[in-house]
């Protein structure tokens, strides 16, 4: 058997070849899974950018609101002080977003931006309760609702991307690859609890 048969029919060769093939398939699969994880992570990062844009567009409307307030009867000095405070909070949250190192830090910073904006709006709403019904405010109200909805929409889409990523990180067998390449679960973007409990924050309600 040993002398007559060519080497590739010997048992040792066949076993080595099979093991080699399995290794190749395994390594290829691991690479594929790692690429998939990275791709899902990139989707999350892209979605973060979208939320940040929406948050910024929303905050840009505040000067319009303040101008509209100037013409109305209300507690002017108290309101301006509070709005200034809330604006400082917003800017601080924005800069911590810019300096954030990890995805979870970015999410936290954006949540603070969300809260700061809602604080500004609720301050205005408390002191100028009839503002939203004024005729000249209708366009601005529509714009506010629009930007609010964009933030909500982008937040939901972001959470979808995070869920897709997290599913891959925790589900077997890609969880093995995730552990190897140091991919961890990401936090969801929580909606501002205060905004949900306090309907006056949303001008549309």
């Amino acid at each position: 058997m040993q002398n007559g048969t060519p080497f590739y029919q010997k048992k040792g060769w066949i076993i080595t070849a099979i093991i080699g093939l399995i290794l190749i398939i395994l390594i290829g699969s691991i690479i594929g899974t790692a690429n998939g994880l990275n791709k899902k992570e990139q989707n999350v990062e892209a979605a973060t950018g979208e939320i940040q844009t929406a948050l910024q567009n929303r905050a840009d409307l505040i000067p319009n609101l303040v101008n509209a307030v100037k013409g109305s009867q209300g507690q002017e000095s108290a309101v301006y002080g509070k709005i200034a405070d809330a604006r400082t909070q917003y800017n601080q949250a924005k800069s911590s977003y810019d300096q954030a190192n990890s995805q979870d830090d970015k999410t936290q910073a954006m949540q603070r931006q969300d809260r700061a904006f809602n604080l500004m709006v609720s301050t205005i709403n408390e002191n100028y309760p009839n503002l939203k019904s004024a005729d000249q405010m209708q366009t601005l109200m529509a714009q506010l609702e629009g930007v609010n909805n964009r933030v909500t929409y982008e937040r939901k889409q972001y959470n979808q991307r995070v869920q897709e990523y997290n599913n891959r990180v925790v589900s077997f067998p890609s969880s093995l690859v995730a552990a190897m390449t140091n991919h961890q679960k990401l936090a969801y973007f929580q909606a501002d609890q205060q905004a949900q409990q306090n309907p006056t924050v949303d001008f549309s309600k």
Partner: protein, 290 residues
């Protein structure tokens, strides 16, 4: 044996009946659920579940979208009507609907689609107009609100004809605001099918070449040893080649999938869209409603 056969046919029929029944039931129960609602299969741009649209309105919508399709910008304006949004506000309903990417109007590049969503909601007659990011420039939220206010009397009426007229006029206003000029360009993208076809041809050529070399061996192969080695090798070669290529190109995947060992690329159904289909454009939560 005959006993099993006797059971088999009625069992199959029963199974079929159960499947059909459950399919019918789920269709009617999920009618207004934004997470499972589907656009009309024949003409997705008009999905009139609440049956409020007249033939005149549908014809207007069709003709306008045909005009759009011939233009360079490839915008689209669609209408969806439902009886009830199941307790959701029309805004949340539309958000859930568009997040699913089941309605994708407008060109894929420009995202210049507009969708009118109408819900009877027991007489509340809620209307929402959603704009893709590309349409927002000419149709900002404030302007949409103004348009809605303009046709408020018709849209909020409890007369079907008035609602139909309001929707038609709203549609026409939105359509005329969207840019529609020039001529449509031919699709120049390299289709994934082309790449796949080339790969298949390459692998086939590779395999055939191997086979030919075996059949017509050169002088060096006459001693038989190398011959058989070729015979072995041609089995694994194309397989490994194709498989590793697939692995390496896992980054090409365009659609989301649940495969864990992701080795292949996905193909986009948008490459084969007809004149009545969605253009593939996305929405971003913009728009206004009342």
């Amino acid at each position: 044996m005959t006993l099993i056969k006797g059971f088999f046919r009625p069992l199959c029929l029963l199974l079929l009946a159960v499947c059909a029944a459950s399919l019918l039931l789920t269709q009617s129960a999920a009618a207004e659920d934004p997470n499972s609602l589907q656009p009309d299969s024949r003409y997705p741009l008009i999905t009139d579940r609440a049956k409020v649209l007249s033939d005149k309105t549908k014809e207007t919508v069709r003709r306008q979208n045909q005009t759009f399709q011939k233009s360079q910008q490839q915008a689209q304006v669609g209408i969806l009507t439902v009886d009830n949004t199941d307790g959701l506000s029309i805004r949340d309903f539309t958000n859930d609907l568009t997040l699913r990417k089941a309605w994708q109007l407008g060109s894929k590049k420009e995202n210049n689609g507009v969708l009118i969503v109408f819900a009877k909601n027991n007489g509340a007659n809620n209307v929402r107009v959603v704009t893709g990011t590309g349409a927002e420039a000419v149709l900002p939220d404030g302007k949409i609100r103004q348009l809605l206010a303009k046709y408020q009397d018709d849209l909020k009426s409890n007369q079907n004809e008035a609602v139909d007229r309001g929707l038609r006029q709203l549609f026409q206003e939105l359509a005329t605001t969207l840019p529609s000029s020039g001529r449509a360009q031919q699709n120049q993208q390299v289709s994934p099918w082309l790449i796949a076809g080339v790969l298949v041809v390459l692998v086939a050529v590779f395999a055939i070449w191997r086979k030919l070399r075996r059949q017509y061996p050169s002088q060096a192969n006459r001693d038989g040893l190398i011959d058989e080695q070729d015979q072995r090798g041609s089995g694994w070669g194309p397989f490994l080649f194709g498989w590793l290529l697939g692995s390496a190109s896992s980054g090409y995947s365009r659609a989301d999938d649940d495969h864990y060992f992701d080795g292949g690329s996905d193909f986009d159904s948008g490459d084969f869209g007809g004149s009545d289909d969605f253009g593939g454009g996305d929405f971003g939560g913009g728009g206004s409603d009342f």
